[in-house]
């Protein structure tokens, strides 16, 4: 009496697989990028990783433990999927502690990523903490066609010098001089020779031309609120400021209801939104 369908309906991610069932991958590399922060290289079992846009995320499954939304931190078009994970809850702990050779489930990519900057525009990238991870694909993208843009600046705030993720790589970018880089930390000892203070404190160091700049922000929501406010104060239109939001994501396709913020589903309509769209929503406590 039961009817079965041999083929699934159109419930697929961009990759042509059911959106609610993970694909199998294997961890091929694992390295620490900061205390408690691990980057996994994942090879898909069947074929190449799905194409993704910088700023999108995947749902990663630690089999038998659970699933978590993790932004993609590697370059688009690579052979491997790169994800950077903070070991903070049961699922992320299990994911961050997967060893090379271990299986891992991958659903995605999901969501709306960073906008493509108009050629010639200045790009201001402002990251806080692990917020650099979802911005890194954009930085790779910009570096790959650096001539298409005007001034490119990365302002990056961290907790302590040792918490700066991808620190060696950031220093390598700095040496290449293709993008201007300013790092700041909240707390530092005498060995630290960089800035100490909040990331908004770095803004006066940027020659911001509101007519040709866009800003990409990712970090704690409080940080993005203050940076967004400071940038608009400096004349940058709120539609040219983009923020990557975080909420509890379960299904990643706008069906489970968990990640709602006001009328938006962060998983489906975001995670990247204009600051103009998010400003009124971020300002309401516990929305």
């Amino acid at each position: 009496m039961a009817l079965m369908s041999a083929h699934r309906l159109s419930t697929t991610s961009g990759c042509g697989v059911p959106a609610d069932v993970p694909r199998l991958g294997y961890v091929r590399g694992r390295r620490s990028d900061a205390p408690g922060v691990w980057t996994l290289d994942i090879e898909m079992a069947d074929d190449a990783p799905c194409d993704f846009a910088p700023g999108q995320f995947n749902m990663l499954t630690a089999f038998g433990v659970g699933e978590a939304a993790i932004s993609i931190s590697g370059a688009p078009g690579g052979e491997r999927l790169i994800h950077t994970i903070r070991d903070v809850g049961p699922v992320s702990h299990a994911l961050a502690n997967l060893a090379p050779g271990d299986p891992i489930g991958v659903r995605g990519p999901f969501g709306v990523g960073w906008p493509m900057a108009t050629p010639g525009s200045d790009v201001l990238i402002i990251a806080g903490g692990l917020g650099l991870a979802p911005l890194r694909p954009s930085i790779y993208d910009i570096l790959a066609r650096r001539d298409a843009f005007g001034a490119v600046t990365l302002l990056y705030g961290s907790r302590r010098p040792e918490d700066i993720v991808f620190h060696a790589e950031v220093e390598a970018w700095r040496r290449e001089k293709k993008i201007n880089i300013e790092l700041t930390v909240d707390h530092a000892g005498v060995d630290w020779r960089g800035h100490v203070g909040v990331v908004t404190g770095l803004l006066p160091r940027v020659q911001l031309d509101p007519s040709r700049a866009i800003a990409l922000l990712c970090g704690p929501e409080v940080m993005m609120r203050f940076v967004g406010a400071a940038l608009t104060e400096q004349g940058l239109d709120a539609t040219k400021i983009f923020v990557s939001m975080e909420r509890n994501m379960k299904c990643a396709i706008g069906h489970c209801g968990h990640c709602q913020l006001g009328p938006t589903f962060i998983c489906r309509d975001g995670p990247v939104f204009t600051y103009e769209r998010m400003r009124p929503l971020m300002s309401v406590k516990e929305l």
Partner: protein, 153 residues
């Protein structure tokens, strides 16, 4: 050769200030430079100078026995430190040490206070410029206290 008046006028802290006030303040100014790693002041000392950084970086630090020296703020070109000059007891509440070779304009605190007393409009103008720095630093301090990048417990 840049005059002290020009240096002050070019510094963001004095930007847009009435030229006559800049002239008054420049009477208290000194062009100073420090080598990398040099202490500019120590916690507890009389806050006898107000610094406008022109080049280089200065780390503001507090040391705690057993916890070492902690830098809570770095101050760079276009920024100021030593706003303790304006309020009693006129003492430094931190150490200031250069991170790299640093050029600054130092304003003699006693001289500046006397001029402000004699010319309240100058005093008011400077207070209005010090206050935003204070507010901004208080706000930054709150944000740092939130330990936003840390793992929530």
């Amino acid at each position: 050769m840049e005059t002290l008046e020009q240096m002050l006028g070019a510094h963001p802290f004095f930007a847009g200030l009435d030229p006559s006030f800049i002239g008054l303040a420049s009477g208290c100014a000194h062009d100073v430079s420090f080598a990398a790693g040099e202490f500019i002041c120590h916690e507890g000392d009389a806050a006898d100078r107000f610094y406008l950084v022109r080049e280089g970086h200065v780390a503001l630090q507090i040391s705690a026995p057993g916890r070492g020296v902690a830098t809570f703020l770095t101050v760079g070109p276009g920024e100021v430190f030593g706003i303790n000059w304006l309020a009693p007891p006129y003492r430094w509440s931190y150490d200031a040490r250069t991170v790299e070779k640093t050029h600054a304009v130092a304003l003699d605190a006693t001289c500046l206070r006397v001029k402000c007393e004699n010319e309240p409009a100058l005093g008011y103008a400077l207070t209005k410029r010090v206050l935003p720095v204070l507010i901004e630093r208080l706000h930054a301090c709150r944000t740092q206290l939130l330990d936003l990048y840390g793992v929530p417990s």
